[in-house]
């Protein structure tokens, strides 16, 4: 029997039981949809981070003090405490191999207004102009330190009824209720995160100068004077080749000599990680998640396989008479076997295709919800279909075999 003819007849049989066939595919659909969704999510996440962590950022260290037991697994800045004083920043700038040290702080706010339109905003980022060294501006440039200027990302500039542009004024309402007028110095070209601390995606962000906006202060243990204190730092190495050595020296200073060492809680340790390392950690988490989801998917596929096997057994029994007819007109064992195997595989393929489509929709939905760009892991689509066929063939083997060895006379007598 030719495969084409087998497909034709199998398709006819499946179409004859639309609802039943659809329900049968559910296990496969769910399994494959879950995998495709998560693989899409993973690919998109990786692409978003790799996109955010530009080439130049391999030499940027993300520094914070975090709880000991997380080993940085909590993500960049997890559990960070305000421990780095201005004195620490100055000393770090003098560490060999360090090009710049950039503080990254949050100023608590309640709202930001522009041209009579107020938008609730829980905080703005306080930093120094060096933060924008690698950034592209749509218009204008960085704020000047010591001035009341702001930099907006496009999402922030466009959140007002009237787009904020360079030279216009935004009104920042601080958490304590006072308001500050600031001039827009620049609008960034893209809303992508400028550092790992920002997270991903294009939510509105407003950047201000630490001086005069940032006011979290502490008494420096070494200087015995009140200084600004930060919880997050970006340390740029001057040479990408020697990042590791520089990283060690930075960690050495922090652990042995810094104010931060005095200020940090007992069970805290310093995290000094390049964006690449953070990426690896994230990939680790993603891999573990993917393994988990794959486990669920495999379970689901097993359930799906049992479902197909069950339906095929029912189908073989129901069609005992048809098998008898086919054998009476010359069907060989192999023909009957082929017919049912093809039918099982077609169910598998249908499940795989529906599952892949659902998975694509799912991946799209999740990435849209989490607000980062969609990247499809195209190489997984053919794999999904192959898995579908494999599950179909495997689960169809026994039923097809039992159909093939049916005795024609018995079968023709079957009511």
């Amino acid at each position: 029997m030719k495969l084409g003819a087998a497909f034709g007849m199998a398709w006819r049989a499946i179409k004859g039981h639309k609802l039943r066939s659809t329900l049968t595919t559910l296990g496969i659909v769910i399994g494959i949809a879950a995998v495709i969704t998560f693989v899409t999510l993973g690919a998109s996440l990786s692409a978003a981070i790799v996109g955010d962590v530009g080439a130049g950022e391999a030499q940027t260290m993300n520094v914070w003090a975090g709880p000991e037991d997380t080993q940085g697994g909590g993500g960049p800045g997890f559990g960070a405490q305000p421990v780095f004083t201005e004195h620490d920043l100055d000393r770090l700038r003098n560490v060999e191999g360090v090009e710049s040290v950039i503080p990254y702080g949050q100023v608590a706010t309640t709202a930001v207004g522009h041209d009579g339109d107020r938008v609730a905003t829980s905080g703005v980022v306080a930093t120094t102009p060096a933060y924008f060294d690698d950034a592209e501006f749509r218009e204008g440039g960085s704020f000047e330190p010591g001035t009341r200027q702001v930099v907006l990302n496009p999402a922030a500039a466009e959140q007002f009824e009237q787009n904020a542009t360079v030279g216009s004024t935004v009104t920042i309402t601080l958490a304590n209720g006072s308001t500050v007028d600031a001039e827009v110095a620049g609008v960034l070209d893209s809303s992508e995160g400028q550092s790992a601390f920002e997270g991903f995606g294009g939510s509105p962000r407003i950047y201000v100068s630490t001086d005069p906006f940032y006011s979290t202060q502490v008494e420096s243990p070494s200087q015995s004077e009140t200084q600004r204190v930060y919880s997050l730092l970006l340390v740029r190495a001057s040479d990408p080749e020697t990042v590791e050595a520089t990283q060690d020296r930075v960690r050495g200073y922090l652990e042995d000599e810094s104010d931060a060492a005095d200020l940090a809680p007992e069970d805290y340790q310093f995290e000094v990680q390049t964006s690449e390392e953070l990426l690896e950690q994230l990939q680790d988490v993603l891999d573990r998640l993917t393994a988990f989801v794959t486990g669920i998917a495999v379970l689901s596929l097993i359930v799906g396989a049992i479902g197909i096997a069950n339906i095929m057994l029912v189908s073989v029994t129901e069609r005992t008479r048809e098998i008898g007819i086919m054998k009476a007109v010359g069907a060989k064992k192999r023909d009957v076997l082929t017919l049912f195997l093809v039918e099982a595989s077609v169910i598998g393929i249908i499940g795989a295709v529906i599952g892949t489509l659902l998975g694509i929709v799912g991946g799209w939905a999740v990435t849209t919800l989490l607000d980062f760009p969609l990247t499809f892991p195209v190489e997984w689509f053919p794999i999904a279909v192959v898995v579908g066929v494999a599950v179909g063939v495997l689960s169809g083997l026994y039923p097809a075999w039992s159909g093939a060895r049916t005795d024609p006379i018995e079968a023709l007598r079957y009511e």
Binding site: A5, R12, E322, M326, K327, V329, K332, K333, P408
Partner: protein
């Protein structure tokens, strides 16, 4: 009689079923079916008629003795080879039609060719020609449940003939049909016989059996008598030949539509 003139021969065939004590469905049957002959098998229920037909049709193998179909002995053939003979050397017509419910008349008739790897175009072409031959040229796209009993049996006959078999086997082909429709199927058999086909038919009814050249009477698995018919009860070839052209598809279509109503 030369071997090549024999379509099927049975030599001392026994078929025994072991159900506690052995049941001899066939108990030493020897029979030769000449090519181009028309043989009817009669006998009371349980006398082994169907068993005989199944052995000739290679659906079953004898416990003892030999069955030879178109010169080939079937007892020592492999399953695959038996399947080939079922598909190419014999054509089966059953009392209950046994059509595939989801396939159209055309596809049902073409079914044996599917297992002979004939291309789709050729399958359908030959099936349509054969349906035309049995007077169903206008019903090719109908499914079995859209056909009357008589039409279904015609489809079954067309399917039995599609691979140009050495012998046409029919197990009570009119058993599920009313008298009129049965008579039309018998008329079709006459035509096929006149065209040179070999027919072996099982029936309960004397008047049906009388269409054949000879009647084999079975009793308790043994051949009780072989009755040669003069052919007086049968219409001549000429009459039938004319009838097939004029009273074919249109005639039957109308008649069968009414029967369909009754039967449902």
């Amino acid at each position: 009689m030369q071997d090549s003139d024999v379509a099927v021969s049975l030599t001392d065939v026994r078929k025994t079923y072991q159900l506690g004590e052995p049941v001899h469905a066939l108990d030493g049957v020897s029979l030769e079916i000449p090519r181009g002959s028309y043989t009817a098998v009669m006998g009371p229920s349980g006398s082994g008629k169907s068993t005989l037909l199944n052995l000739v049709g290679c659906l079953d193998t004898p416990t003892e003795g030999t069955v030879t179909v178109d010169g080939r002995e079937t007892s020592d053939l492999r399953e695959t080879e038996l399947a080939r003979i079922r598909g190419e050397e014999v054509g089966f017509v059953f009392q209950t039609f046994n059509l595939m419910p989801r396939l159209t008349a055309r596809e049902n008739v073409a079914l044996p060719l599917v297992f002979q790897d004939v291309s789709k175009d050729e399958r359908h072409e030959r099936a349509e020609a054969m349906l035309e031959r049995v007077g169903l040229g206008d019903r090719v796209d109908h499914r079995p449940n859209e056909l009357s009993g008589g039409q279904r049996q015609r489809v079954a006959v067309a399917r039995a003939l599609i691979a140009d078999p050495a012998i046409l086997l029919a197990d009570e082909p009119t058993g599920n049909l009313d008298t009129d429709t049965g008579a039309k199927i018998m008329a079709l058999f006459e035509e096929l016989y006149d065209e040179g086909n070999t027919i072996l038919m099982v029936t309960h009814e004397r008047h049906v059996a009388e269409h054949a050249e000879r009647i084999v009477h079975l009793l308790d698995g043994e051949v009780e008598a072989v009755e040669e018919l003069s052919g007086a009860g049968r219409p001549t070839g000429a009459e039938v030949g004319d009838g097939s052209g004029a009273g074919g598809p249109g005639d039957d279509g109308r008649g069968d539509a009414e029967e369909g109503g009754e039967r449902a």
